[in-house]
């Protein structure tokens, strides 16, 4: 058990080091950091001073060590574009993205799970077939087109919901939340729906497939033989066994949703990390890009590791192999 956890931890650290190496090489070798950070008419002394300050005159291995120690402490240098500390910019934007992803995940679960259960319990029903067709189309429509359609219908034509920004926000410590005001909640609806819709189809298909499989298993048959009501069998016995894999997949998808938030945030001008990243990409703002890369990689690696460890805790067969 401990050996497995250790092995898994070491693996994660290696992946993070590889990502850090990529992020570092981006910063070090693409363009000249000194040129990007100083105005064009800067004197040679200024350049030399900044070069020494950044440690660019030292061997590459020393520089990489400095980069990693900095990154561990949340230091990613200064943005080329805004001339501000990258860590500060990301900390400012992080709450917006996390609130968006959370709302989208809740929406996807609340809609996807009941739809999947329905489709599994009535596999030949008309409504189930409709749900299947809709989900097929849903997968083929690019998310940004969905977002544009949502804006066109609910903001432009019906004028019900705002189409950009977060609305009014409330500052709690360093966290700026939109959950506490009416306009903040209203602004959240469309972006969360856009980000969540793709996951709805995914969750629905998954729940449907898992549940149909569980419904065919022996213990469900025995539960029926015992004379339990349909309701007790479906929701008391089958559903619990269906949801375990669903929760792990949704967990894994959280990382993907943070990445897909880039598109949502662009469509709705949502002031989160994704918008920051896309601005950095189009400007070539390497420090912001490398910081975002390290952050997202950390989220992915952490989620993957937690899921692996969860499986290990749940599935006794795995402990034999390790």
């Amino acid at each position: 058990m401990i050996a497995f956890i250790l092995k898994r931890l070491i693996q994660s650290v290696i992946v993070m080091l590889a990502v850090a190496l990529i992020a570092f090489s981006m910063f070090r070798f693409i363009g000249d950091p000194v040129n990007s950070m100083l105005p064009e008419n800067a004197s040679a002394e200024d350049r030399q001073e900044l070069r020494e300050q950044l440690g660019l005159d030292q061997p590459v291995t020393v520089q990489f060590t400095r980069f990693v120690t900095g990154a561990v402490q949340g230091e990613f240098g200064i943005s080329y574009r805004n001339k501000r500390a990258v860590a500060e910019m990301i900390a400012e934007r992080l709450p917006a993205t996390l609130e968006l992803v959370l709302a989208a995940a809740v929406f996807a679960l609340l809609l996807g799970v009941p739809m999947g259960i329905y489709a599994a319990l009535h596999p030949k029903g008309v409504l189930s077939n409709m749900l299947n067709v809709i989900s097929l189309i849903g997968i083929s429509v690019p998310t940004f087109v969905t977002g544009i359609l949502l804006i066109l219908v609910f903001s432009v034509w019906l004028n019900w919901l705002p189409s950009f920004g977060r609305g009014e926000t409330v500052q709690i410590g360093w966290w700026r939340t939109g959950f506490l005001t009416v306009s903040g909640l209203k602004s959240l609806i469309l972006p969360a729906v856009m980000l969540g819709l793709f996951q709805v189809t995914l969750i629905m298909r998954l729940v449907r497939a898992e549940m149909m499989e569980v419904l065919r298993s022996d213990f469900v048959r025995f539960a029926r033989a015992r004379g339990l009501t349909n309701r007790a069998v479906n929701f008391g016995h089958a559903l619990g066994n269906t949801l375990m894999p669903v929760i792990t997949i949704v967990g894994l998808q959280l990382g993907a949703m943070i990445a897909f938030a880039i598109i949502t945030e662009t469509v709705f001008q949502w002031p989160g990390m994704g918008l920051l990243f896309i601005q950095a990409v189009s400007f070539g703002d390497i420090p912001v890009m490398s910081a975002y890369l390290v952050m997202v990689a950390l989220v992915f690696v952490a989620i993957n590791m937690i899921v692996d460890l969860l499986y290990f805790a749940i599935d006794p067969r795995l402990s034999v192999r390790a």
Partner: protein, 310 residues
């Protein structure tokens, strides 16, 4: 089957084949391929069939700007799907835009396929350190969403290029980013089939008569691992078009001076609030139709080539 078949009998053989029977009995697939062929032809013939040249500034007139489609009130029969804020014909812009979208799609799929096949064959046949090296790269890339990797690659290339080259090199950057992101899937598939094939008797026979490893790889093993590759290529064509559209929509793809479908949607999106919906909706519909049709074709091909489903 005769080896020296004439083109005529080859055609009849194809028309009588199992594959073609499966094709023509699936209405969805026939419809999907009709849509694909229609958009392909329209894009290819754009310079001849487009009613206007959207890049010729001299033919543009601000009097014609923001005209609605022809069936709406105030529409102009010269502009079937309406015009944008500069008086450009939306239909012509879509025709030229699909050309770029499809070009990026086809070229990046072809490149990714070639790279993926070579890496997959070599990894699967030789194994060892080469295999471990490529497969670790593949592991890392596959654990992140494709769109994120594509964004990152294009961001790195953009960072390395001087700013004034961003627009002129946009097409190459896009193809590069999509190729780098997608070769992994071909490599994985080819590798696993190659590992099966390399212990078959025909491979031992070829080794015994002294054929060189690369001759064995490309003239003996390759034809036997192509089936799944074609399926991935079809589905990846839809994905490449989608990645291109997304990058362009996010503003890190094709510039507005040389727009793809994604750029058209991005530009049209800015006029959504003035009620000018047609500038953004028609390119979006074209994109959705194209991606859906190619995806359906890919799905069909996967089932049709899968011996388990026969």
């Amino acid at each position: 089957m005769a080896l020296e078949a004439s083109p005529q009998s080859r055609l009849t053989a194809f028309l009588k084949s199992d594959l073609f029977y499966r094709f023509r009995t699936s209405y969805v697939t026939v419809a999907a391929s009709a849509v694909t062929v229609f958009i392909l032809l329209a894009a290819l013939l754009a310079p001849w069939i487009a009613p206007h040249d959207p890049f010729d500034v001299s033919t543009l007139s601000l009097w014609d700007s923001e005209l609605p489609p022809v069936w709406a009130e105030g529409g102009d029969p010269r502009f079937l799907l309406g015009t944008d804020n500069q008086g450009r014909d939306v239909l012509s812009a879509i025709l030229y835009g699909s050309r770029i979208s499809l070009a990026v799609g086809f070229v990046s799929v072809a490149l990714a396929m070639v790279i993926g096949i070579v890496v997959g064959l070599v990894s699967g046949y030789f194994g060892g350190a080469v295999d471990a090296f490529f497969m670790r790269i593949a592991d890392v890339m596959l654990s992140f969403p494709t769109i994120l990797v594509a964004l990152l690659v294009s961001g790195i290339v953009r960072g390395a290029l001087p700013r004034e080259m961003h627009d002129s090199a946009a097409l190459i950057v896009l193809v590069f980013a999509i190729t780098v992101t997608t070769w992994v899937q071909y490599a994985r598939t080819v590798r696993s089939s190659t590992m099966v094939e390399r212990s078959r008797e025909y491979v031992y026979a070829a080794q015994l008569v002294g054929r060189k490893p690369f001759a064995i790889l490309f003239s003996h093993i390759l034809p036997n691992v192509m089936g799944p590759v074609l399926v991935i290529a079809t589905i990846n064509l839809a994905m490449a078009i989608l990645i291109e559209a997304t990058l362009s929509f996010l503003g890190v793809g094709m510039p507005p001076t040389n727009p793809s479908l994604g750029t058209l949607i991005r530009v049209g999106n800015e006029y959504l609030f003035s009620g000018v919906w047609w500038v953004v909706i028609f390119p979006s519909l074209t994109l959705v139709a194209l991606v859906l049709a190619v995806n359906l074709l890919g799905d069909w091909l996967r089932d049709a080539l899968n011996p388990k489903l026969r």
